[in-house]
């Protein structure tokens, strides 16, 4: 399957990265319970910590241009070990998809439709993702510019409208907590929303051979760290000490908007944006999983994306239509559906996982495995350097 073609631009990819991260930023409040009124600064330290990780991804993608993560594994570790490593990545993508689906399901079930079983909400949501993927992931990525404008606009609107209620002194005193708390929060920010951009290494082949993946990834990360700082700061100055005890700070602070008793109850805007952003996020994760699975299963018979090698293959796939999606989407969505249903028993368990285990779980896949891959690639002198010599 030649799914990856030059049909997304790097600008769209950057916006997709932003939307991908922004959903989680709006949804989660666990960083705030660690660093309280200094949490906004963690958006920037998290970005700093993320830089070496992006450098690793960029290194891998530069060595093997036009290849996705799973294909790179095959080249670096050989067909057997490569498959094992790829399976680990796939497990990670599926887990993230399930966790995010569950997150959204919880939001819908708790805040919007308390009497509807969570399974119904999740099923409808995943069907939406399947539909999106069947229409082609590149269309979703193309839409990300629009989603960026909508979500950034909503963010600005909410921040401006809530200004009347804010008390800036809630930000003080600055940086008075124990240093390990800042380290913990920085690692959380890096691992949980930001590091998840690993999934985009499955999409970067769509940029085409000449597209540089590092720049859009970085641009997207910078955009989202700014938006994260704005969101966290807004929540802190609106809610004060309440911010660390409410379950959804962004939701609660938007509930505060009241302009002349007319423009109120804007949390519906928040709900709509959250669902759209999660749709994008879970679709991308699901796509990463499905594409990885297809590439793993098809193995060596899979045509290379290089048009020079397989001119005919890319010619056939050029016919851009609804068939241009990997198989097994529905089955994978079903897998994610059941996975997300049993992944956590309660929101308390979810929160505990997010605060304690999640960063280590995520960093294993986001940092450790890619770092080892790059190291092995360098030691075995694989990648572009050798290709040039040959």
């Amino acid at each position: 399957m030649t799914l990856e073609k030059e049909n997304i631009s790097s600008k769209e990819l950057a916006f997709a990265v932003f939307c991908f991260i922004h959903g989680t930023v709006l949804r989660s409040g666990f960083i705030i319970s660690v660093t309280r009124n200094d949490s906004w600064a963690m958006a920037f330290t998290g970005l700093l910590f993320m830089l070496p990780i992006v450098a690793i991804y960029a290194g891998l993608l530069r060595k093997f241009p036009g290849k996705s993560l799973v294909e790179i594994d095959d080249i670096i570790f050989g067909p057997i070990l490569g498959k094992v490593i790829s399976a680990l990545y796939l497990f990670f993508f599926a887990s993230l998809a399930a966790l995010n689906t569950r997150d959204l399901g919880n939001f819908v079930a708790v805040h919007m439709m308390p009497e509807t079983p969570i399974a119904a909400a999740i099923a409808v949501f995943l069907l939406g993702c399947v539909y999106t993927l069947r229409k082609g992931i590149e269309n979703l990525i193309n839409l990300s510019t629009l989603l960026f404008i909508i979500s950034a606009g909503a963010l600005a609107l909410n921040a401006i409208l809530v200004l009347k209620e804010v008390q800036p002194e809630f930000l003080k005193p600055l940086f008075r907590l124990e240093p390990q708390k800042y380290v913990q929060a920085t690692v959380s920010v890096t691992a949980v929303p930001m590091g998840e951009v690993l999934a985009f290494t499955m999409l970067t082949p769509m940029l085409g051979k000449n597209g540089k993946a590092a720049k859009p990834l970085l641009l997207g990360l910078v955009l989202s760290s700014v938006s994260m700082a704005i969101v966290l700061m807004r929540d802190i100055v609106t809610l004060g000490p309440l911010v660390s005890i409410v379950s959804l700070p962004a939701f609660e602070s938007i509930r505060y908007v009241s302009l002349g008793d007319i423009l109120t109850r804007l949390e519906s805007v928040y709900g709509v944006i959250l669902i759209i952003l999660f749709l994008l996020k879970v679709s991308i994760l699901l796509y990463a999983f499905v594409l990885g699975l297809t590439q793993m299963l098809s193995g060596k018979r899979r045509p290379l994306s290089n048009p020079g090698h397989e001119g005919q293959a890319s010619g056939t796939a050029q016919s851009l239509n609804s068939k241009n999606h990997p198989p097994l989407i529905l089955i994978s969505a079903a897998l994610v559906f059941f996975y997300s249903l049993f992944v956590f028993e309660s929101m308390m368990e979810n929160k505990n996982w997010g605060a304690t285990t999640a960063p280590f779980f995520s960093l294993t896949f986001e940092f450790l495995l890619p770092a080892v891959s790059l190291l092995v690639a360098c030691l075995r002198k694989l990648g572009r350097a050798r290709e040039v010599k040959a």
Binding site: E169, L239, L297, P327
Partner: protein, 415 residues
């Protein structure tokens, strides 16, 4: 090649997957469409957990009292009777004297069991999204605020916007007061709270403000008090005084002057009227657009004192004397009197706060924000430290105009 790859995938995972001929595919599509349409018809019965307007009891005000039995709460929910509201503003046309609200009371162990308990007596379920006021009786407040506060802040339906009040008598009596201009007492209280900024004599506190103050640890939360008074055989309500809390319990009150002082310190006094006694008689000043700034300052010996700067802008609203108050020396005299009056209110409030040892002004928070290191040392025995904190008050008053008259209207003044 692609097709081959797809096939491999399908062979592996979808052995019974589908290589239909075109005709069969068309048939399958048609069958799916019919099935979908049938399923969609089911959804015409509308939403799953819909709640129509005529099945809701829209609560506008909630009162909490101590129950008759030990360890119980009595909750009174003021519910709108929509049919009575629609009948014109005079209410004469549609059933004279019909009240536009119903008060539903129920007693049980906790707030939520009360809310569910109400369904034993009423055909509609209470709906709290539009609740405007929470009234806690002072008896309950003196025992414990935690129960009601947590339940209402935690519940998704109610909002942290709602005003919080403490009733001097029973909270249920407040909700039965005669609301002459409004149809619903809770509405009257809610609207009244919005107007309090023009008198600056009531601390307006929402559920959010109260929760934030409670969470702070050093700050003593406050809430306005409301009481019932009788006039002409009818029961009316009025706002008076401020309740002071510590450790989740109500421990004392601030009177009118002390409440004014509190608002000056916490920068909540925006506007108000001051009646000054001069040598010649009464002069009334209106203050508008005032503000204040509280700042902790370190003394030479390392202790901390608070610096308060109050800025007030005013005009002369009424002159009951024969003296021309537009003369500059009189303006200076009025400004002096004004400063004294503001200072007296603040001193009064400070004295009461020290007596109660309750940091109603948020000195602790201000020190925590400006001098975190010193705060670490003070916070353990803040209760003993607070009364020792000095407060320097600097009042700046400007008198801008004398209203539409310069000289007073006095008999023979025109000659």
């Amino acid at each position: 090649m692609i097709k081959k790859a797809v096939k491999t995938g399908r062979k592996l995972f979808l052995p019974f997957s589908l290589s239909f001929s075109r005709q069969r595919r068309e048939k399958a599509r048609r069958a799916t469409a019919v099935l979908l349409c049938t399923l969609l018809i089911l959804s015409l019965s509308s939403c799953w957990s819909r709640r129509e307007l005529n099945t809701l009891a829209i609560v506008l005000g909630t009162g909490l009292d101590v129950g008759d039995q030990p360890d119980t709460l009595k909750l009174t929910a003021q519910v709108v009777k929509a049919s009575a509201i629609g009948s014109g503003s005079t209410a004469k046309a549609g059933g004279a004297g019909e009240k536009a609200y119903v008060n539903i009371s129920y007693t049980d162990k906790s707030v939520l069991s009360v809310l569910r308990g109400i369904t034993h007596m009423q055909s509609r379920r209470p709906y709290f999204s539009h609740n405007e006021v929470f009234i806690f009786s002072s008896d309950l407040a003196k025992r414990d605020m935690a129960e009601g506060l947590d339940a209402f802040a935690r519940d998704y339906e109610s909002r942290l916007h709602a005003d919080l009040l403490i009733s001097k008598g029973k909270a249920s009596d407040i909700l039965q007061g005669e609301a002459a201009l409004e149809k619903i007492p809770a509405r009257q209280i809610g609207d009244m709270m919005e107007d309090q900024e023009i008198n600056s004599e009531t601390a307006v506190v929402t559920l959010r403000d109260f929760s934030i103050a409670t969470l702070s640890g050093s700050k003593a939360p406050v809430a306005p008090m409301i009481e019932v008074y009788e006039s002409g055989g009818e029961k009316h309500i009025k706002l008076e005084d401020t309740a002071v809390f510590k450790g989740g319990k109500m421990i004392g009150e601030l009177d009118k002057s002390q409440t004014r002082g509190l608002l000056w310190v916490t920068n909540q006094a925006k506007s108000g009227v001051k009646t000054l006694d001069t040598r010649w008689g009464q002069v009334v000043l209106e203050i508008f657009d005032s503000n204040s700034k509280l700042k902790p300052v370190k003394n030479g010996d390392g202790t901390i004192r608070m610096e308060l700067t109050v800025n007030g802008d005013g005009t002369i609203e009424s002159n009951e004397t024969n003296e021309d108050m537009s003369r500059l020396e009189n303006v200076e005299m009025l400004k002096g009197l004004m400063k004294e009056a503001i200072r007296a209110d603040i001193e009064n409030a400070l004295h009461q706060a020290r007596t109660l040892s309750a940091d109603v002004f948020g000195f602790g928070e201000a020190i925590h924000q400006e001098y975190p290191e010193e705060w670490e040392k003070m916070k353990e025995n803040w209760e003993r430290e607070f009364p020792k904190i000095g407060l320097n008050v600097q009042v700046n008053v400007m008198l801008h105009s004398t209203g539409s008259l310069t000289e007073p209207v006095v008999p023979g003044g025109g000659q």
